[in-house]
């Protein structure tokens, strides 16, 4: 199976509002795929259609190779899903909830006995498993939501804003969990509006806004889609005019400027050209102390795509 999630022309409307507009989403197996978009972009609506909680108004959905029909729950036994700010039944104890969900997944009694403490330990709730969920903090509910999503050893884990409500330590822990489960060959589909989270964790990204896909691919591919120079920042000792001239002569350089001891080199390529620049600086008599590529961050790319999308909408 090449794609664990595949949608074609997926559409969802709420009255006149088109929440998801002909979305062609493709999530490759064994990846951590970020699903990025601002609030109200249609991320949760898309996920709910993937899980079978919402009925699409158009298009098709295939998850783990199965076409998703209405109220056909079988495929869900292979999916782990953590909803956005999971609303868990507060009348149950953490451990009871995982146990009941385990029964629904068909996890055997012996396995539940073994795995539930392990899962609760993994999300830092080992000591609180016997307490009612109503006594849990927002972050604890979030952690319990992650634990229940991993209960059935899923082939695909869908996490909707897993870091929401977590403190910085919790956020780091969630990222570590994502890396861990991905290492075990599980595909992770991560919906988030936190750019740095997606940038740090994901191998692939799909960016949507107002239900429309803006870009999809690896982080590098997406960055390449957005035109604009990459700046290489070099800290140079003995920075002279000769050094600048030597660097300017390089074919891929579009501009050079000086900022104190720093040389700012704009290049038109996205290849790693730091060694050529370093050689040119040395040839001009300078000594390279440090060098860093200041290409567009995902945030820059994201903002560029949003602005372009807005302009396009206005012109239509």
């Amino acid at each position: 199976m090449r794609f664990v999630i595949e949608t074609a022309d997926l559409t969802k409307k709420y009255g006149p509002l088109v929440a998801v507009d002909k979305l062609d989403l493709k999530v490759k197996t064994d990846t951590i795929h970020g699903f990025l978009g601002p609030n109200g972009a249609g991320k949760t609506t898309t996920i709910k259609m993937l899980i079978g909680l919402l009925k699409p108004d158009g298009g098709s959905v295939s998850v783990l190779g199965q076409e998703l029909g209405w109220d056909k729950p079988d495929v869900r036994s292979r999916i782990g899903y953590m909803p956005e700010l999971p609303k868990l039944p507060k009348h149950l104890k953490g451990r009871e909830l995982i146990d009941i969900y385990g029964r629904m997944y068909g996890v055997t009694k012996e396995e539940r006995k073994k795995q539930i403490p392990k899962l609760l330990d993994m999300v830092g709730l080992k000591e609180r498993g016997i307490d009612l969920i109503i006594t849990y903090s927002k972050g604890m509910k979030q952690r319990l939501g992650i634990a229940q999503a991993l209960l059935n050893e899923p082939e695909l884990v869908i996490l909707d804003e897993p870091s929401l409500g977590l403190d910085p330590v919790g956020m780091v822990e969630v990222r570590e969990i994502m890396h861990e489960i991905a290492k075990e060959g599980v595909t992770v589909f991560l919906s988030s509006h936190l750019l740095h989270e997606v940038e740090q964790v994901c191998t692939h990204v799909t960016i949507i806004n107002k239900g429309v896909e803006l870009a999809s691919g690896t982080l590098k591919q997406i960055s390449a889609k957005v035109k604009g120079p990459v700046t290489i920042e070099a800290e140079v000792d003995k920075l002279s005019k000769a050094v600048i001239k030597k660097v300017e002569k390089l074919s891929f350089v579009t501009g050079v400027s000086k900022d104190g001891k720093k040389l700012l080199v704009e290049v038109k390529t996205r290849d790693d050209v730091r060694s050529q620049i370093s050689q040119a600086i040395t040839a001009g008599g300078g000594i390279v102390i440090s060098m860093d590529s200041k290409g567009k961050s995902l945030e820059d790319v994201f903002m560029d795509l949003l602005v372009k999308h807005k302009r396009k909408k206005r012109s239509q």
Binding site: D71, R76, P89, I100, E153
Partner: protein, 317 residues
């Protein structure tokens, strides 16, 4: 972790467990349980209280337990239905817990009927305790009791009567996704059929129509002689779904009973002399059959609509 091919039963029982734990931990359910036991205690102790206040002394009553209707009666059934299922579907939508629940590999049909069965089990256990309490209390207060073999029938009748209200509460809860509407709309129906319906029926002589709606139904008198000046005589019989248990027992004990229905003559009432006019009579067997048939139709129709709506519900929460 090994995931077995789960049978439908295992999933169904998981839903039942989920729901029962919710039911028994609800404050309103626990409150209702305390209230039910308090009311049962009061009905047991009422004779002694009246006697202590100078009223007649307590006489042995061998039919107390059989006539107690689980110590609850119509409004008790209605209240138990409300507290048991007013949140069953609508509460899940309101709190958002429906999202992780329906994301599990369990069909909506299983979830819906698992919840319904959990309500049934919760009430069965509750009513069993109430019935045992009333039986022991009846022995202690009113002496040896007759026809105790019919106690399970009384219990089943009470359960069936409550299930009608449960289907109505579920219906409003599923369609509106609001616990408030799930509670208030049936309350409106209960008030309409029990209070307003009874008054209008008694005055207009059109009480027969109450036979076809849930609740108390039409009221008549069995085994009575001609009406006295102020009221008919005999045993009061209600035709509604709330009285299935007592009517069944009454039929088993007195299969040939006839029930006569009356209207109040308002014109004479204006002259200070109200009188009751006999309208029609019906065999008790007809009334029992009719009340069971009506109850079944209501239960099936309301549950079927609720199930259909739940299956088609889009989870936007």
């Amino acid at each position: 972790m090994s995931v077995s091919h789960t049978s439908w039963t295992a999933k169904f029982l998981a839903v039942v467990r989920y729901e029962i734990l919710w039911n028994i931990r609800k404050k309103k359910f626990l409150g209702m349980l305390i209230l039910a036991f308090a009311l049962s205690t009061l009905s047991l102790a009422l004779g002694h209280i009246v006697s202590a206040l100078g009223g007649p002394s307590v006489e042995p009553n061998p039919d107390f337990v059989i006539g107690s209707n689980v110590g609850l009666g119509g409004f008790g059934f209605f209240l138990f239905a409300i507290v048991t299922v007013m949140n069953t579907v609508s509460g899940e939508f309101e709190s958002g817990t429906i999202v992780p629940l329906l994301a599990k590999p369990v069909s909506r049909t299983t979830v819906f009927f698992g919840k319904l069965f959990a309500a049934f089990l919760t009430l069965l256990v509750t009513y069993c305790f109430l019935m045992i309490y009333m039986t022991i209390g009846g022995f202690v207060v009113y002496g040896p009791q007759n026809n105790l073999h019919l106690v399970p029938l009384s219990l089943l009748g009470a359960l069936f009567s409550t299930l009608i209200w449960i289907s109505i509460v579920l219906f409003f809860g599923t369609l509106s996704r609001s616990s408030l509407i799930a509670a208030l709309a049936p309350l409106g129906i209960w008030l309409g059929t029990t209070i307003i319906g009874q008054i209008v029926g008694a005055l207009a002589g059109q009480g027969w129509i109450l036979t076809y709606i849930p609740g108390t139904g039409n009221s008549g008198f069995a085994n009575g002689g001609p009406p006295s000046q102020f009221a008919p005589t005999g045993t009061a019989v209600s035709t509604g779904t709330d009285s299935i248990g007592p009517n069944l027992i009454s039929y088993i004990l007195h299969p040939s009973r006839e029930v006569t229905f009356y209207k109040i003559n308002i014109e004479e009432m204006a002259h200070g002399q109200p009188s009751w006019v006999a309208l029609y009579s019906e065999p008790l067997s007809n009334i029992v059959l009719m009340s069971i048939a009506v109850a079944l139709v209501y239960f099936i129709v309301f549950v079927a609509i609720s199930w259909y709506a739940f299956r088609r519900a889009q989870i936007t929460e």
